[in-house]
């Protein structure tokens, strides 16, 4: 049976900040910010946690931000293509999701990341329990946690 519990906004933001500073450097801190504009071209990445706790952790950033993140993670000197962008953004949500999973009751398993160029649309059977609209290097970063309505 799943347990009805959710991570706190503070924990999710702290985990996201830790991931950001570990892999994207300390020069550009991650701040509280504005939501992604409706007309933004977006890269979305999700990981799903299944088991004693179930949920989906998602990360959405603009295309421009996704390329900047990718270049930073690859070391800045390499040519970045679309597969690199999917890989880098997927790895970031994987780290945030894996650490959210560790805060929730276990045992549970973490899926491989799924990355899409476009926004994520959630089924009616899920509820957004955490949403953090952040800013990195002047661009919006949205991290969210959804859970099934009936856990």
């Amino acid at each position: 049976m799943n347990v009805m519990i959710e991570p706190s906004l503070h924990d999710v933001v702290s985990l996201t900040q830790e991931v950001w500073t570990s892999f994207l450097g300390y020069d550009e801190p991650l701040f509280e910010g504005e939501p992604l504009p409706d007309d933004a071209t977006v890269v979305s990445a999700t990981v799903t946690v299944s088991g004693a706790w179930a949920g989906v952790v998602s990360l959405q950033v603009s295309e421009a931000m996704a390329h900047r993140i990718t270049a930073a993670m690859l070391g800045g000197s390499e040519k970045v293509d679309e597969s690199d962008v999917s890989d880098a953004v997927g790895e970031l949500v994987n780290m945030v999701g894996g650490n959210v999973k560790s805060l929730m009751p276990g045992p549970s398993t973490l899926s491989l990341p799924v990355v899409a160029h476009g926004r994520v649309f959630w089924p009616h059977e899920s509820a957004e329990v955490v949403r953090a609209d952040l800013t990195w290097a002047g661009e919006p970063v949205c991290i969210a946690v959804h859970v099934p309505l009936e856990q």
């Binding site: 790895e91 994987n94 894996g98 999973k101």
Partner: protein, 127 residues
Amino acid sequence: MLALIIDDSRAMRKILARIVSDLGFDHIEAENGREALDHLEAGRVPDLCLIDWNMPVMDGYTFVTRVRANNEWRNVTLMMVTTESEHNQIVKALAAGAHEYVIKPFTPDAIVDKLSMLGLLPQEMSA
């Protein structure tokens, strides 16, 4: 010294490669446990493996059990580098033969500290 970096994320392999290269390691890479085993079976036996847990084809835990089942590879040091941070999974990996466990996100210093504890740093860096 040779390090084998096993992670399905190219970005993560590059990050780890920069760290171990700065420490003086040569390195090779694999996208999953199966590809890593191919390196070992071809005679490219590393001193150190940095191993993600969740990967397609063959996961890191299975890779650890396969390496530990082959006595010819008993001297290979195995370090998990993964987002899997549940206590029972850490215990499971260490029981299967992993020497160390690093949870993502990590800092380069965390990797250096673990390698120092394992005696895998050049002496001038361990001092």
